[in-house]
């Protein structure tokens, strides 16, 4: 029999699986958003270190860089940072507990329709609260930056 050639990576979902959070409920959205905000915060953090390091080139360099954040797009970027860091921290604290097996319920005897204990409403509420906190923080930031 001719052996079927199978590249091992055939049919792997790949990064596309990470990037599409729409199919598996709130926990998958949390996974996607934690990663997205984490990478975004990393980019911000690098930029932030670069920004603050301009002080070694004197006050003028520092101030001309700071002006970037006083533009419309600078404000919008900062509002994104506020939202991302709020969600990432709040949901991150939830994840620290879940990764340690806390708040997920105990194994039992599964019965139809087999609702999994680990995807319980305590966890879903945690995700929703992190999203609401992020929205509230962005709203507050918007008022401070654009408010009269």
């Amino acid at each position: 029999m001719k052996e079927i050639e199978r590249p091992t990576r055939n049919n792997l979902e790949g990064i596309g699986g990470w990037l599409n959070p729409s199919r598996y409920g709130w926990e998958r959205i949390s996974y996607w958003f934690q990663r997205l905000t984490g990478v975004f915060l990393l980019v911000y953090f690098i930029g932030h270190v670069y920004e603050t390091s301009t002080i070694v080139n004197g006050q003028n360099a520092w101030e001309s860089f700071l002006e970037l954040t006083q533009t419309l797009w600078g404000h919008l970027f900062l509002i994104m940072v506020i939202g991302a860091s709020t969600f990432h921290s709040a949901n991150g604290i939830r994840l620290i507990f879940t990764h340690a097996g806390i708040g997920l319920g105990t194994p039992g005897r599964p019965d139809y329709p087999y609702n999994p204990a680990s995807l319980n409403y305590r966890q879903k509420s945690g995700i929703w609260i992190a999203l609401i906190l992020a929205a509230a923080a962005m709203f507050y930031g918007f008022n401070v930056l654009f408010g009269v």
Binding site: T98, P107, P116
Partner: protein, 270 residues
């Protein structure tokens, strides 16, 4: 009598869109569509078997039990991994039902995928009970059974319901990018044996303590979302990790062995 007669006038039809590829012939892939009649109780597997019987016998599928027990009919149905025999067309509420091979499993032909990698990960977990003494395996010393209380059984029972259908492996975002990650099924089975009071292996935590091991789980929960048997692999993984992090202490008391003495006919009672 009326409700037992078949009502052909109200027969509904569904468009079945089936992924076709024969990797043996290297001829590329395409989708075929079929118009299939269905009733309220018709499953996706029933519809595929209708296609095979009356329209195109060459459609390749794998199935056996038709009752969510054997775990062989897993496929991507409308974008989500499901058992074809456990998914009713009427419940999908779409006019087209798209059937594709399970993601993260190499395609062999059409909807049939290769489970070797998945089974190898399962085997690497040493999925069997290991004890330190061989009395219960030694026939010359009589027959033994283990004593476990209902509470002892509850600790692992739900994980032992796994039918190895691979839906969780298919839904997991980490598996999708890391071939060396054992996946939710295997990791949950590691917990199943770790929590079993009959098992005395000291190696279980070491097996999953790897750069590509349990630490790659980010609790996206998709495994538990798609599992058709209520195994909740995500729960097993987090509970196992709690032992690895030292949050839970392993205070397992090994199950007592009880000799079954036929002469006294006590049937293993203490």
């Amino acid at each position: 009598m009326n409700n037992t007669t078949i009502d052909n006038k109200n027969e509904r039809r569904i468009t079945l869109k089936v992924y076709r590829e024969n990797r043996g012939q290297d001829s590329g892939s395409h989708h075929d569509t079929f118009e299939v009649p269905y009733k309220k109780w018709t499953t996706v597997l029933d519809a595929l078997l209708y296609v095979k019987s009356y329209m195109d016998p060459s459609v390749a599928i794998r199935y056996s039990c038709r009752m969510a027990s054997c775990g062989s009919c897993g496929m991507k149905i409308n974008g989500v991994p499901k058992l074809a025999c456990y998914t009713k067309i009427s419940e999908l509420e779409t006019s087209t039902v798209e059937c594709e091979p399970l993601p993260n499993f190499p395609i062999i032909r059409d909807l049939v995928t290769d489970f070797s990698r998945f089974f190898n990960h399962h085997k690497s977990m040493q999925p069997y009970i290991q004890t330190n003494d061989s009395t219960e395996a030694d026939n010359s010393k009589g027959t033994f059974s283990f004593y476990q209380s209902p509470e002892d059984v509850d600790k692992y029972l739900q994980f032992s319901y796994c039918i190895k259908c691979g839906l969780c492996y298919s839904a997991c975002p980490t598996v999708g990018t890391d071939l060396n990650f054992p996946g939710p099924q295997a990791l949950a089975q590691q917990y199943r044996y770790f929590a079993d009071t009959r098992d005395e292996s000291k190696k279980r935590l070491d097996i999953v303590d790897d750069r590509h091991g349990i630490w790659r789980c980010h609790f996206a929960g998709s495994c538990s979302k798609v599992c058709p048997k209520g195994v909740d692999p995500a729960l097993g993984i987090q509970l196992l990790r709690s032992y690895m992090l030292g949050i839970s202490k392993n205070d397992k008391i090994p199950a007592k062995k009880i000799e079954i003495n036929d002469d006294n006919n006590n049937n293993g009672k203490i």
